[in-house]
């Protein structure tokens, strides 16, 4: 889905979210309306200012009591729409999705530079994940410290592709992309060479700031020291789209 609706639609619709009557612009998505109204919906891949991919599935909601769940980030509001964001079923699904992420790679929070500032860690807590029921996959991944300022630890990557999108859509460098498929997916720079050898990387650091976990971090940080600043994104995105 494009970052903004094809044609800006400024007409106003009314809808209910969790029984709350709300009004919204017709070109908004459910997640945008929830964020404005402080209705907490977990999300990982969605980020205000980046295009929508609908990949993490954490923001799935029930719409009009229908059986098919919709990703709140990828669904525009409609007049009269009725949305449930936090039913028992949705809570159960989200918990399992977070568990799947923890089991997939090696997220050892205790020794992570993002400990205490990590969206995945926070999601585990808010979704009530106090342990992971499935076996851990235990596949080892590379840590690439070849860049002079930044580091990527693939063990902590959740493949949200925020780095790929911010690099392409905001910075315009498209240094990052995803290689492989399925469980073999990994984010890569250029032809999957060490990051430090990349010709296209401008070292702007946007990818580091938008990364929700301790996968993309600054060099020289110790446990719990990596605090990310994402303020720039909505400002840049807004100014860019108004050109």
């Amino acid at each position: 889905m494009p970052i903004r609706a094809q044609q800006p639609d400024v007409s106003v619709v009314t809808l209910t979210i969790d029984g709350q009557d709300l009004s919204a612009r017709a070109d908004e998505t459910i997640i945008e309306v929830c964020r404005e109204n402080k209705i907490p919906i977990p999300s990982l891949c969605w980020m205000d200012g980046l295009s929508v991919v609908g990949a993490c599935r954490l923001c799935v909601v029930e719409v009009d009591g229908g059986p098919r769940l919709q990703a709140a980030c990828a669904t525009r509001v409609r007049e009269g729409m009725s949305v449930q964001t936090n039913t028992d079923k949705l809570q159960r699904y989200r918990r399992t999705l977070v568990e799947l992420l923890f089991a997939e790679r090696n997220h050892v929070c205790a020794v992570c530079v993002s400990n205490g500032h990590c969206e995945l860690q926070w999601l585990a807590q808010t979704c009530g994940v106090d342990h992971v029921r499935m076996p851990y996959r235990n596949t080892g991944y590379n840590v690439d410290s070849s860049h002079e300022m930044f580091r990527i630890d693939h063990n902590r990557c959740v493949l949200c592709t925020r780095c790929v999108r911010v690099c392409d859509e905001i910075e315009g460098a498209h240094t990052w992309d995803v290689m492989g498929r399925g469980s073999g997916c990994q984010v890569v720079t250029d032809l999957a060479k060490p990051w430090g050898e990349s010709d296209s990387c401008t070292s702007c650091g946007k990818c580091v700031q938008v990364c929700p976990t301790g996968a993309l971090v600054k060099q020289g940080t110790s446990v719990g020291e990596m605090v990310k600043d994402q303020q720039f994104l909505s400002i840049l995105a807004r100014r860019r789209s108004s050109r």
Partner: protein
């Protein structure tokens, strides 16, 4: 050009083809070719040219005759006659050529030792609409297609019908998408047609990826013009001037025949600009897949045509509204397009008279697995599974007992003996916990291990997951691990419970159809063969 002109053209082609009472057809589709059909064809052609044939006869390479397990297949029949009306020979080798040619003499007896009875249920109980020309026309011959009545529907649509007329016929026919979902084709067409005029696209989904399904390959290899004609009619109906056929690179023969068909149709003015001297322009390009099952999903397919990673995106917006390069796009599969020309020629009501209440027309199925007659069949919707497997398919070989039939590929499920009397259509299969899918039917005998079958399909989905969304990428991987443990009898009851819960989560939350249906083989085997799982728990 109008219909009369087209008839004149066909008559001219017939005159050019020369006088012959009999034709010897050699199946040159992929399966028979693998069994050595090319040397048979060469021997027959050489023999015919040398005058070994007793009467004026013509040797012709044709597409799939259906009974792939008996290939190479050869048929001797009057020109353009139906397959059952001729004499069919099975397991033919080049050395048999003289005998076959000798049998074409007036009054000569058929070669009994090679004969495959053309009244056997495999042939007699089929109803061919999509496969009408398969095994009869030469897929590399534009003229052959026209002589068989081809392109009449397109000419009729362009010269006698409005776009709305065409959509009305398709809607009236009740045709539903043959790629798996069963979405009403007429509704899809009218949605795209209603989008504001401008650039629109028509796409043919020939990325047939279900393991055990080869219907689309056979159609493309046997009658490629039929698909092009269907696409052109669709383009006329929705107002598109450009089409893409997305074909698996694993089907080189189909690709080659499609390329030939497009080239010849363009040269004869049946594709390109001012088709048949009308104002209608339509150009078709082939795009090759590169080995990714998920590209059968329509948004992934479009991403692939655009040159990217074949990853699906959330819908809506649907392709009808926001498709290829953001333009309104119609996507149908091969078999759907192959149904269009007869619907336009004979009317939607005629088509709606075939099949069941909610599933109209016929369906092509690929029969494979442990079954006597492996191959391709076309039957009315609503035919009972038992008739398909035991009458047409000839039952299970080696005296073994039937256990289950798998339909719908990795998105489908297994149907046990108890439900074999169910008439096959979209809805009945759904109630059995499986789906029509594109039409693959894999028959399994009593020796099949159903946990292993579920594990096999889960491995498929895990390998083919694009990796974009969490439930499909990580969930299929975990479900596969659990199935492995169950298969090795290392799992506990809690593992089985976790497996069932993951099935629910992956089904409910995955981004696209691949993930949403990946649990189906597990759920369906659990439904009918739960004891096989429980026996293995610790």
């Amino acid at each position: 050009m109008n219909l009369d002109d087209l008839e004149d053209l066909a008559a001219k082609y017939r005159a050019d083809a020369g006088d012959h009472d009999t034709e010897v057809r050699v199946c040159l589709a992929a399966s028979c070719q693998s069994s050595g059909a090319q040397p048979v064809f060469d021997a027959l052609s050489a023999g015919c040219d040398d005058g070994a044939a007793a009467a004026p006869c013509k040797v012709k390479g044709v597409g799939c005759m259906g009974l792939c397990s008996a290939g190479p297949l050869v048929a001797v029949a009057a020109p353009e006659a139906a397959l059952e009306a001729g004499v069919i020979y099975r397991d033919v080798s080049a050395a048999d050529a003289p005998d076959i040619l000798a049998s074409t003499a007036p009054g000569a007896a058929p070669v009994e030792r090679l004969r495959c009875p053309s009244d056997m249920p495999f042939f007699a109980r089929q109803h061919k609409i999509v496969l009408q020309n398969a095994g009869i026309v030469d897929p590399n011959s534009f003229r052959g297609y026209v002589m068989a009545g081809g392109y009449a529907a397109m000419v009729q649509a362009l010269t006698e019908m409005t776009a709305q007329d065409v959509i009305n016929e398709v809607t009236a026919s009740g045709l539903r998408g043959r790629g798996g979902g069963g979405y009403p084709t007429g509704l899809k067409w009218s949605t795209v047609a209603k989008m504001p005029a401008g650039q629109k696209y028509v796409i043919c989904n020939a990325d047939e990826g279900d393991p055990g399904a080869f219907m689309d390959r056979a159609i493309l290899e046997s009658d490629p013009h039929r698909v092009l004609e269907g696409m052109a009619i669709a383009a006329y109906a929705i107002g598109a001037n450009k089409g893409y056929i997305y074909v698996r690179a694993e089907y080189p023969l189909a690709v080659e025949r499609l390329k030939t068909a497009i080239r010849k149709a363009k040269r004869s003015g049946f594709l390109g600009n001012h088709i048949c001297e009308t104002q209608f322009n339509f150009d078709v390009e082939i795009r090759l897949g590169a080995g990714a099952f998920v590209c059968g999903e329509e948004t992934a397919l479009m991403a692939s045509i655009e040159g990217g990673r074949g990853q699906p995106r959330p819908r809506p917006p649907y392709p009808a509204e926001y498709g290829l390069w953001g333009s309104p796009t119609l996507i149908n599969n091969v078999e759907t397009y192959a149904n269009i020309a007869p619907i336009v020629s004979q009317g939607g009501d005629w088509f709606a008279g075939i099949g069941t209440d909610k599933s109209k027309g016929t369906k092509v199925f690929a029969l494979a697995g442990t079954i006597v007659n492996t191959g391709l069949i076309e039957v009315d919707m609503g035919t009972r599974l038992r008739d398909i497997i035991f009458a047409i398919g000839g039952g299970i070989p080696d005296g073994r007992a039937f256990k289950a039939v798998q339909t719908g590929g990795p998105s489908g499920g297994c149907v046990p003996e108890a439900h074999l009397d169910m008439p096959v259509d979209y809805d009945s299969l759904k109630t059995l916990g499986t789906m029509m899918g594109s039409g693959g039917m894999i028959v399994m005998d009593e020796t099949a291990n159903m946990v292993d079958v579920a594990r096999f399909f889960m491995e498929f989905c895990m390998d083919e997951s694009c990796g974009k969304c969490v439930p499909c990428r990580a969930g299929t991987q975990q479900m596969h691990g659990l199935l492995e443990r169950i298969a090795k009898a290392e799992a506990s009851r809690a593992d089985l419970e976790l497996l069932e819960e993951l099935c629910d989560v992956v089904q409910a939350t995955s981004l696209c159809g691949l993930g949403q249906t990946a649990p189906n083989p597990v759920l369906s085997t659990l439904r009918y063969f739960r004891h096989e799982y429980e026996e293995k728990l610790g």
